[in-house]
């Protein structure tokens, strides 16, 4: 075997004066970075194994640990960066495709940060959400073109099924398998308490979680893992996953070592077998096939569940979205290129897809031009980082958002982006019982409730400031946005004016 050219990413710095050799770090690190040297009574570190997840930092009772970027420098080169070199070292050593976890980390523009919100001054009053009603409830589902009433003024139209969300936020699809049972339970319980929904992802739904069905979106993806009649009827809505923002155009892969007894039963696959989702649905090779799947799912659920269709934000999203509406979907989910993932080929994650802000603006506008925007709900995903991002998304035209990365961060994720190793020290992206039990759903679901409640307060404050007391009146209300540091074309696509205009 040739030399290993890889160098550590991080340096573990231990303050020897503070360290009491308690070895918490040794026991906590699933990557085996820390080693206790009995002879010298010191704890040492193997830097190269460190993924910088901060588990040991947080748990160290004397706060003796700090991780720093490994100080080793390469000779400066603007083209051949250290990252570029390291990737080549890795690939030339293994012959493999580079894998990454979580969303695109590259310095592409973040349009949320280039849009500013309005507030009322003098000509109309701002509204104080602590004193006045402030509504953030949304109804997700298909809407008829109009309502009809009989001669006596009684409603005759039957509105198709809707999912009621008390706050326009849902937890993104993360399968049981890619994340742990305890993480799933935390999401399900938080969604139930908040009056929102979480999403099963493509891994099926564990029997024990059927009781959270009213707050569950059940996903149907290309692998059809865990999909059966009871499953489809267990949730509040069904989501057909065509694509994912982190890896548009490709399928998924859950390594066999993550498929234990429970995951196996839930996914309906043998223990230890790789769960491979094909890149396309093999019964959907075009839009008319999508229509058939939508209606098969509606048939099996007696037309009582809305069917969402999720696609990745790609160049032609607007036209695709229009097709999806016409194919009969009740809601469209668009996932931007910053959306998280348990594992994706690095090249796909970092180079395929477009920013969610631009995709959302283009789709909302296109559906309006085709006079069909009001018929469906538009849900976006792909790196919503805070409540202001949500408010801006709604102003651009979204009905609701999915949060995935933010939700796992609330559960302790430190974005070390090593989910694919299955050794998540926080008990989130792992199936190892010793690690899973570190995440206590009784405590962790509260953090999710706290996060979403806090964001809801902030959304209400921002709405009130704009003189709006129902989020409905913000949807597509692009006059509430102004651009900063954007060019003409960007403003045109976003459909907003420049600050000062």
């Amino acid at each position: 075997m040739s030399l290993d050219f890889n160098s550590p990413e991080f340096e573990v710095i231990r303050d020897e004066k503070k360290c009491i050799q308690c070895q918490v770090c040794v026991r906590q690190c699933s990557n085996k970075v820390h080693l206790y040297d009995e002879e010298d009574n010191v704890v040492r570190a193997d830097d190269i194994k460190c993924v910088n997840c901060h588990r040991c930092v947080v748990l160290c009772p004397t706060k003796a640990l700090v991780m720093k970027k490994y100080p080793l420098e390469f000779k400066e080169n603007a083209n051949w960066t250290a990252a570029a070199l390291k990737e080549i070292y890795k690939q030339s050593q293994t012959g493999g495709v580079l894998l990454s976890s979580m969303g695109n980390p590259k310095p592409f523009p973040i349009y949320w940060d280039k849009m500013l919100l309005n507030a009322s001054q003098v000509t109309n009053p701002s509204i104080d959400p602590l004193r006045e009603p402030m509504e953030t409830k949304v109804m997700i589902g298909r809407k008829p073109e109009k309502l009809e009433f009989d001669a006596k003024g009684k409603l005759v139209t039957n509105v198709p099924p809707q999912v009621e969300l008390s706050i326009p936020i849902m937890f993104s699809a993360m399968s049981y398998g890619s994340i742990s049972r305890n993480a799933h339970e935390s999401l399900a319980r938080a969604a139930t308490e908040l009056g929102i929904c979480y999403n099963t992802g493509e891994g099926g739904l564990n029997r024990d979680f059927y009781k959270y069905g009213k707050n569950t979106i059940v996903q149907v993806a290309s692998g059809r893992f865990g999909v059966h009649k009871e499953y489809l009827n267990a949730g509040a809505a069904i989501e057909i996953k065509i694509g994912q923002g982190a890896k548009p155009g490709i399928g998924g892969h859950l390594p066999g070592k993550k498929v234990g007894e429970d995951v196996s039963a839930t996914r309906m696959i043998p223990v230890g077998s790789d769960a491979i989702s094909p890149a396309p649905h093999h019964d959907i090779y075009s839009i008319e096939d999508l229509r058939q799947l939508i209606f098969s799912l509606k048939e099996v659920t007696d037309y009582k569940k809305p069917v969402f269709v999720k696609i990745a934000a790609v160049h032609n999203s607007a036209a695709i979205a229009s097709g999806i509406v016409r194919a009969g979907a009740d809601a469209i989910v668009i996932d931007g290129f910053r959306g998280g993932t348990g594992a994706a080929p690095t090249r796909v994650r970092d180079n395929v897809g477009i920013p969610i802000e631009l995709a959302l603006a283009a789709i909302d506008q296109r559906l309006r031009e085709e006079e069909i925007r009001n018929e469906v709900s538009l849900i976006i995903a792909g790196s919503i980082r805070n409540s202001a991002d949500i408010v801006k998304a709604v102003a651009l035209g979204a009905d609701a958002v999915y949060i995935g990365s933010a939700a796992v961060i609330a559960l302790g994720c430190h974005l070390c982006r090593s989910c694919s190793t299955g050794k998540c020290n926080w008990g989130i992206a792992t199936q190892e019982p010793e690690l899973v039990k570190r995440l206590n759903p009784d405590i962790m679901y509260r953090r999710l409730v706290n996060l979403v409640s806090a964001w809801n307060h902030e959304i209400q404050e921002l709405l009130g400031g704009m003189g709006i007391n129902a989020i409905d009146s913000l949807r597509g209300n692009r006059l509430m946005l102004r651009g900063i540091d954007l060019n003409e074309k960007e403003l045109e696509i976003l459909g907003i004016k420049y600050a000062g205009e």
Binding site: T157, N374, N469, L474, R478
Partner: protein, 363 residues
């Protein structure tokens, strides 16, 4: 400086309305007196009136009131009108010189009927045909602006204080069963006559006090259905919302009110299952037609008038009744000055409409 329609101008206002529910007609003196009392709520940059029942001799014709910037656009527009409509009568609207009313455009009036064969060819009804061509003139004929297009009703408006505009148009010479008036306090306006209120579409007229914060959500919603918001004013979009809901979608007026001033979700939860289902359906399907932010509006149409506040009452609105008449205004004093001892006077709750219709008409 940009003209109204090329930018959005916030403005505050005064509003007043009178209807005689028995249909007895009276001249414009009273409404002028009422709106004049609220002089300080306007700033001289816009005033206007809508009068219903004023053209009984032409009641079957659409009365188009048009502002022209110059003669050449007038000729072009008339050419267009005569291609699509039979013109029963045409002439300029009589005015008299009043200090404080300046820069008047050419102001013309036409009583017209859509050409039958064109209506048939277009597979639409007369009302839809007329509204489409009014929108066409207003969007495509720069310098021409149709500011009134209903039957047996008319709008009179301009740049100035409303009482001066009323005298300018000699409203004491018209008799109608219903009058509404508007005094405007725009924060910034180049003073364009078309930008004054009321805003009308067919026999709908809307006068409005407030600045709605849902404007762009409402605008982008109605624009999906063939409307074009050329003025970027609240009244324009409110008019289109009602026109769409009531005329195009046949939503009963009382339900249309639930659309624009929707009951709160918490209140809906307390209703019976049936009412809940209806209100939830209304809020789901017409979520983008909810009007948000402070407003008080008076909506005039053939059958009568409806006054409405936003659902948390962020603008003043008072109503009164005496005999066969109903009065509404921004201030109580504006009612009392023309109506001694009303037998009932009240301040309507947020979202609770005052509906005053001609006798025999249904909500």
């Amino acid at each position: 400086m940009l003209k109204e329609g090329e930018l959005r101008i916030p403005s505050g206002c005064a509003i007043s309305g009178i209807i005689d529910k028995e249909g007895k007609r009276f001249n414009g003196d009273e409404i002028i007196k009422s709106i004049a009392l609220m002089h300080d709520r306007s700033n001289g940059l816009g005033g206007g009136f809508a009068a219903y029942g004023i053209y009984p001799q032409y009641k079957d014709f659409y009365a188009l009131h048009i502002f022209y910037d110059n003669l050449s656009i007038k000729m072009k527009t008339e050419d267009f009108i005569s291609k699509h409509f039979d013109i029963e009568s045409a002439g300029n609207i009589p005015t008299k010189s009043v200090p404080g009313v300046r820069n008047k455009p050419l102001i013309w009036r036409y009583f017209v009927h859509p050409r039958n064969y064109m209506v048939k060819e277009g597979f639409v009804d007369e009302a839809e045909f007329t509204s489409r061509y009014v929108i066409k003139i207003n969007t495509e004929y720069k310098g021409a602006y149709v500011f009134s297009s209903g039957k047996n009703m008319g709008t009179f408006k301009g740049v100035g204080y409303p009482e001066d505009i009323g005298k300018f148009f000699m409203l004491n010479t018209y008799e109608g069963y219903m009058w509404t008036a508007h005094g405007r306090f725009p924060t910034n306006t180049p003073g364009w006559w078309g930008g004054a209120h009321p805003f009308t579409m067919l026999d709908w007229s809307v006068i409005h006090n407030g600045e709605i914060s849902s404007y762009d959500a409402n605008r982008r919603f109605v624009e999906m259905y063939g409307y074009k918001c050329t003025l970027q004013t609240d009244t324009e979009v409110i008019t289109y919302l009602f026109d769409m809901l009531v005329r195009k979608h046949n939503v009963p007026m009382e339900k249309a009110i639930k659309v624009v001033a929707a009951p709160l979700w918490d209140d809906i939860e307390r209703e019976s299952k049936e009412v809940q289902n209806e209100l939830k359906s209304i809020r789901s399907v017409y979520a983008s037609a909810l009007i948000n932010g402070p407003f008080s509006i008076i909506l005039g149409f053939e059958k009568g008038m409806i006054a409405l506040n936003d659902r948390i009452k962020l603008r003043s609105l008072i109503a009164a009744e005496k005999g066969s008449r109903t009065y509404v205004a921004s201030e109580e004093s504006a009612i009392r000055i023309i109506c001694d001892n009303p037998h009932k006077i009240w301040s309507p709750q947020g979202g609770e409409p005052v509906i005053a219709l001609l006798e025999g008409e249904q909500k």
